[in-house]
């Protein structure tokens, strides 16, 4: 029985570790042939890239692809192109929008910078969000339902379980709300 108790303690310690800093998280990716999505009988499967090989060299995250894609881009671990043509210029907008009405959660800081590294204005404006800040009303219910931020976050951008990456500004903070223009 003592052995069982030690085993359980060790297991708990291991769990606590995995809930700790991102650097401590062990990352696992299933081979395509075992992901229960790809057909292992497909002879061409061996030609496709293996997630573990491609993603294990990129900045860590505990969620989604287990990759912090924004960090991977910033650190130039990846250098994806933003256009198929070589002469297209896109603008990175360094503008934060603060959302203070977040109940008891920390306030949300929306950084245009990380978003405009990947996207252009027209992807979000005005179909999903009005240009004017705070003109579009939405809440977590809509986001969890795949609307607004949830159009990408929860499907391809980091998932909604990663609360603190958006709810990042403590309510005691003296940060003044940013203005759109």
């Amino acid at each position: 029985m003592r052995i069982l108790a030690v085993w359980i303690m060790l297991f708990i310690a291991q769990d606590t570790c995995s809930a700790g800093p991102v650097d401590m998280i062990e990352r696992h990716w299933r081979p395509l042939a075992k992901d229960e999505l790809h057909d292992p009988a497909n002879p061409a499967l061996k030609l496709l890239h293996d997630p573990a090989k491609s993603l294990s060299v990129l900045s860590r995250s505990g969620d989604g692809n287990q990759v912090n894609w924004a960090a991977a881009l910033e650190r130039k671990e990846i250098q994806p192109r933003i256009s198929l043509s070589t002469d297209t210029q896109t603008e990175v907008l360094d503008l934060n929008i603060l959302f203070p009405n977040t109940g008891e959660m920390a306030m949300v800081n929306f950084p245009h910078k990380q978003h405009t590294e990947w996207l252009v204005c027209g992807n979000c404006h005005e179909e999903i969000f009005k240009y004017k800040s705070h003109a579009t009303k939405f809440g977590m219910f809509e986001i969890l339902n795949g609307q607004y931020c949830g159009r990408c976050h929860g499907a391809v951008a980091f998932p909604l379980t990663d609360c603190n990456r958006c709810h990042s500004v403590a309510r005691v903070s003296s940060v003044a709300p940013a203005k759109a223009h």
Partner: protein
């Protein structure tokens, strides 16, 4: 709870809180993949046409291309299933065919590289989008 412990007289009750804690912690362990996060399955027409479903891996494409390329320039809307994607369009250079043309990426003769899914898969976003809500992905 008393019924549960009553059935396990040999089990030391002092371990029970540990087990409950253990169970609670297990909920927070990140789900070890099945599909990779952001994988899209397209099977609206594939199997009816006698070929495997298509799997589109976002993770692989975003290593080389930013969202803007496909979701602005090529014109895929940002909602899985929103676009009707036909092979005839792809052959004509639209959708996937904008790159899969043997110039930017391998061409359309490599059927099994895209049509690589298990038979019977439903169309949609896969890979543990962990909200579990009534999502529209």
């Amino acid at each position: 709870m008393s019924r549960l412990t009553g059935n396990c007289q040999q089990f030391p009750r002092r371990l029970l809180p540990w087990l409950i804690l253990q169970g609670a912690l297990l909920l927070f362990i990140p789900a070890v993949g099945h599909a990779e996060y952001g994988d899209i399955v397209m099977n609206e027409r594939s199997e009816q046409a006698g070929i495997r479903p298509v799997i589109f891996p976002h993770w692989f494409h975003r290593i080389s291309f930013k969202c803007n390329v496909c979701h602005t320039e090529i014109g895929f809307r940002m909602r899985a299933g929103a676009d009707k994607i036909l092979m005839s369009d792809i052959v004509a250079g639209k959708f996937c065919g904008a790159c899969h043309n043997d110039k930017i990426a391998w061409g359309i003769k490599n059927c099994n590289l895209c049509h690589s899914g298990l038979p019977g898969l439903q169309s949609g976003t896969y890979g543990g989008n962990t909200t579990g809500g009534p999502g529209k992905w």
